[in-house]
Point group: C2
Chain length 316, copies 2
């Protein structure tokens, strides 16, 4: 049995959008999967009733506290022991759930990931990753997108491995092409960090390194499936891609490719390199985004993503 | 009299597009401006004849060599003393021209800028800048976009001043709003570099610092007119914006705002912080792009951009 934990109280439109997303996900999950909602028992039951859904189809773990967006994330994680996020991570640590997803406080989710679940042995720094659509169809993954904003070259090297495993098992890409985000295609281009990282990646047998990629080639799909970047640069790229989508919408552009930039389609942002599948959703997550985030978490458990990463590091 | 130097041999479609662009610019420049073309006398004369333009309206400085794209830029600048770029910089150094524009080798142009024209006293590192369109109309300027890929915080601080002077005098913005490109709005956000730069900028009286800007807010125009970034990050942002335009075109999107991302409209990339107006054009420059690059160079001379920067540094 797979037990997917969901923070029912996290996000700008919680618990309503979360419960509705979970109800929608319910019809798409495997028969052996259980959805475990952490949150206010009564509110969840009322919402299920309102939506005509039998609440008994969920497992509910009642929690009495919520980490709010203006709480200090790491402190709140400690000081609100009965918050949906803190209790969720407790369940994850005790393996009562197999993965945990929340559209709530990113900082609290990261605090839980780093201090409760912890990094997989051999991981220098965990990363957060984001999928984005390619013109050729399918998606690429870019990491890090903000967890580690001053990356050493060996960290970038390892992100190539993390991204490879994600792309292979989550996106079903046989031999993912890994590129280093840089400001020129030639190996001698870049800043001190990317020049060193390129040297480390150049002859690796651990993954399929295809060289540097410039940001004007990120979207074609012709070069790479996995984009390795420093968390600062990756975050800038990600937010600029979001801006591109927002601009297109604002301009009334209804285009098949641009529409695929809608975050709702991708679930959430996985935390890679920690000892459990953890997915962080957009604060403003719609029910559809929550539905996809739940399916993404289930999928990570199914493909044994964490075990695949652990095994790859043992071989290393 | 203003004398605008133009490398007639630089660019993928030189000399044809350059000469045609210069002819188009001729009808728009001030009556006291002379366009000085550096290149093959005969080819330029033939092209003028073909286009039905009196070549005597230009000053031509004959040069016999061309720095090709596969030449080593800095070496070629020395080893091809009669190349259009080397001769152009010689004329600039002797003040026989007041500004120089080329769509040829970026590396050779930068070599000329750094070693012949040199940095203005007090400039820590010159920068290259790029304009991009805002939703509110007008443009913002982002710098650096690739010259200085490992910026110290004090360099970023000074880019705020360079950008302010450019935006004020070239774009006519009264009191340009300067923002630091970062991954969060709050002052404590960022990597080591941007956190330190923020501290330096925070209380400056030299320019109108408005705080951090995230890349999803670059285009609205609601926050800033001048975006300060490390050359690595700025280059990534710029190329991603180019990709956005290319994607829109490829998708057949004809939208007023997206169309304004067309590089042809902005002339070229100014080198800021050196002792003369130097503009580097896109290699694939169309005649329209060359025309605008020439007008941009003339404008920089007219508004005394270099003198304004020099004066600001003396006050500092």
């Amino acid at each position: 049995m797979i037990r997917v934990g969901i923070d029912a109280m996290g996000g700008d439109y919680a618990p309503k959008n979360i419960v509705l997303g979970a109800i929608q996900a319910y019809s798409r999950i495997q028969s052996k999967t259980r959805l475990v909602l952490f949150g206010d028992n009564e509110q969840i039951a009322t919402l299920c009733k309102d939506f005509g859904f039998d609440v008994a189809k969920f497992d509910i773990i009642h929690t009495s506290q919520v980490i709010e967006m203006n709480d200090h994330p790491a402190k709140a994680f400690q000081q609100k022991p009965d918050s949906s996020i803190t209790v969720g991570f407790g369940a994850l640590a005790k393996m009562r759930i197999d993965g945990f997803a929340s559209a709530g406080s990113t900082g609290a989710m990261l605090a839980g990931a780093m201090y409760t679940v912890k990094a997989i042995p051999g991981i220098i720094r965990p990363a957060i990753a984001s999928e984005y659509p390619l013109l050729t169809g399918g998606t690429a993954i870019i990491l890090d997108v903000g967890l580690n904003v001053d990356c050493k070259p060996d960290v970038l090297y390892q992100y190539g491995l993390l991204g490879t495993i994600y792309a292979k098992h989550m996106s079903g890409i046989e031999n993912p092409r890994v590129a280093l985000l840089n400001i020129g295609e030639e190996e001698e281009k870049g800043n001190l960090q990317t020049k060193e990282a390129h040297k480390l990646m150049q002859d690796t047998a651990e993954y399929n390194f295809v060289g540097n990629i410039e940001s004007n080639h990120l979207f074609s799909g012709e070069i790479a499936d996995v984009i390795v970047a420093d968390g600062f640069v990756g975050n800038v790229v990600l937010k600029q891609a979001e801006a591109m989508y927002a601009l297109a919408k604002r301009q009334g552009i209804d285009n098949e490719y641009f529409n695929r930039f809608n975050y709702e389609l991708y679930g959430g942002t996985p935390v890679l390199g920690v000892n459990a599948p953890i997915i962080i959703g957009h604060g403003a997550s719609s029910p559809k985004a929550i539905e996809n985030m739940i399916l993404q978490t289930e999928h990570a458990v199914q493909v044994r993503l964490v075990e695949k990463i652990t095994e790859a590091l043992e071989i290393e």
